[in-house]
């Protein structure tokens, strides 16, 4: 049976900034308290989602779970993986700690355990384990307003479109995450432009891994062509040398 891709839809216009999602995430991931005021907290190795107060608008930050994740593409040991159900998960036993995922992530999400001698990369895993058990994500379960909605991604896109169509004055006509860097499993709706919420704007529509793949896929042909070219040049120059020496011998006689 094919697994249907799940996701989250976060609607800025419905968030009251109560912090239930923040606390549910802490509880499900057994994370310690990091700030007495959750609205002032920031993503860290102990905090996988935050609610930010952007002038009367509350916006959640968490891993976007890209369809073609940049982090998974850049990881030299495939420690990050996009699962068919949607979550981008981390295999900590593979990770060498190069932190390329953190540099490359267009949303700057992954965090590192800087204080540990043997650190790991930390980020939201879209409650992959709960999803496998047929549950929703912890944050969606506790949301009292439905601002964070869990469901099949296709369905969530439909819901988002309907909300925009039903009240076009209330929304910016854009589903953030529908096309950004090739689409993400976490989608956002808002009544104010997304860059005012602190989300990265101007992202390209193509998945970022294509940028490096265009170069990387040429390597095999480069190696073959390079060897032939170098071999050819060597053959010519060596032969020329040979001929010159033979000529010299002939002249000497």
């Amino acid at each position: 049976m094919p697994v249907v891709k799940k996701g989250l839809l976060f609607d800025v216009t419905r968030c009251v900034g109560c912090g239930a999602c923040y606390q549910a995430c802490k509880e499900r991931n057994h994370l310690p308290v990091t700030d007495s005021n959750f609205l002032k907290d920031h993503l860290s190795a102990q905090t996988y989602t935050v609610v930010q107060d952007r002038n009367q608008r509350f916006v959640r930050r968490l891993c976007m779970h890209c369809d073609v994740p940049t982090c998974a593409s850049v990881c030299p040991v495939a420690a990050l993986e996009k699962t068919p159900a949607g979550p981008v998960v981390y295999h900590e036993d593979r990770c060498i700690g190069c932190r390329y995922c953190m540099v490359a992530c267009p949303f700057s999400i992954p965090r590192y355990e800087w204080t540990k001698v043997l650190p790991r990369v930390r980020k939201c895993d879209l409650c992959a384990e709960r999803l496998a058990n047929g549950q929703t994500t912890a944050c969606a379960e506790v949301c009292p307003t439905g601002a964070t909605l869990f469901g099949e991604r296709d369905h969530l896109v439909q819901v988002a479109r309907e909300r925009i169509a039903a009240s076009p004055k209330e929304y910016v006509p854009h589903i953030y995450g529908l096309e950004e860097v090739g689409g993400t499993s976490v989608l956002l709706l808002s009544d104010v432009p997304f860059d005012r919420l602190g989300l990265p704007g101007g992202l390209m529509k193509e998945p970022l891994p294509l940028l490096t793949w265009h170069v990387l896929q040429e390597i095999p042909s480069f190696v073959v062509a390079g060897s032939v070219l170098l071999g050819g040049i060597w053959w010519i120059t060596a032969r020329r040398d040979e001929v010159r020496q033979a000529q010299k011998k002939l002249d000497d006689q």
């Binding site: 002038n55 540099v103 506790v142 009544d191 490096t212 390079g226």
Partner: protein
Amino acid sequence: MFPIKIPRITFWRSVLLIVLASGLYSTYLRFTAGLGASTALSDGFPWGLWIGFDVLCGVALAAGGFTISAVVYVFNIERFKPIIRPTILTAFSGYLLVIVALLFDLGRPYRIWHPLVMWNPRSVMFEVAWCVTLYTIVLALEFSPILFQRLRLEKPLRIIQSITIPLVMLGVILSTLHQSSLGSLYLIVPHKLHPLWYSPLLPLFFFVSAIGLGCAMTIIESFLSYRAFRKRLEIDLLSDLGKVIVVTLSVYLILRMQDAMGRGALKHAFEATYEGRMFLAEVLLGIIAPVVLLIIPRIRRSHFSLFVASLLVVLGFVMNRLNVSITGMEAALGGYFPSWTEVSVTSMIVALGFVLFSTAVKYLPVFPPEETEGENETADAQWLAPNVLRQPLFSSTTLALVLGGLFLGGSLLLGGNGLWYRKQMKSVVASKPALPPTGVADRYFKMPLDITLPTAVASPGVVTFRHSSHLDAKQANCTQCHVQRFRILKANVPTATTAGSRDLHSDQLCGACHDGKKSFSVKEDCQVCHSM
């Protein structure tokens, strides 16, 4: 009886000692306290000096090796043969030092071998890992004849020499891939790297500039090794290397300018910004200045002026790599300025490089035996600055050199405008006007369910907890009770409290607020909560 020889305390030996000592202390910090305590790296800025300088610049040291080997063995231009050994040695030590630097930078250095077993061919870093491994092996093989010759091991020498040609070709291909792949690393951050440096041609830029650096390093090493050991390359060869630098850097300059103009990024160079200044400094000092100098034949005919021009090439190169990895990323990622521990580790690695190189030059046949000095030597003598290597400690020359180096290093290379950036970012966020409020709570807030709490044996009656009497939908703050006092997820409600005690009256649970001050006390009328 051999007299015990105490090494003289010279300036450079003292520097070496200080650098090694502080480097070792930082090494201890790094591996006992972790990256956070020993570096200025952060979630916002995960790659710093160790990647930007040690790795990006260290790898480029190898570029001279493959260029000259290709020229000699593949193109059969035998004239350059004397240059091969110093360049191979440079390349080999460069790669060894890069591996050392990586062991510092990787969060889990003992897993450095993972990429060889756990593949992800779509990752540039995977390519980099393979290139480092394979090319280090190739370089070790290319270097081995020098060792075999010294140890008079004829048989292995012959074996290695018989596979020279395929080895050189493999080296050229691997090196081309590796030099360019370091540029490819940054192809995936189009939104983060400043347009003055981000380009789809980054792999090509990294490759071409590395060749220029390789040649410049050869000239510098020849110059320094003459001062230390009276061993060096003849001026004709070095002069030709100068010509190669002119051609390489000119191509590089044209490519970069054309690319920047094509993408409409060149205008940023003339804006009065940090990035604009760093870009201009890089291009003017590090590319144009050495090209202009090296075009002049008189400059190419003197060891000293060749050395100065090459130093500019190296400086410009280092600036470029730091600009790509640090300056160009600061606007997007926030500020970064290396900690003293990072600087001291880097200095230690550079010092190790010097030690490695000079030891090899001293004991191995790296430079060809000195031939009769040409007439250039007299002309050269005018250029000879006071011999730094043999200066006593605290002479004015050495002091001036150190101060100059500190100044250059501090202001140009590391370019720490990090703090300034952080301030700017803050003010941008704060300046936005407030938005009109939405009536979210009235429309969407659904009060969480009432919860019937489990009763103890002695309980005077059942307690039903009502969210509606505990929170105001318009100012809901779930974090006052969750998760420190009460669990929030369904699977854990209603029995699970965070405190071990199940006595809900405790001041860790209901009693925390029902204390008679914030709200009525749990010790008051039982019937308020317990239904009888």
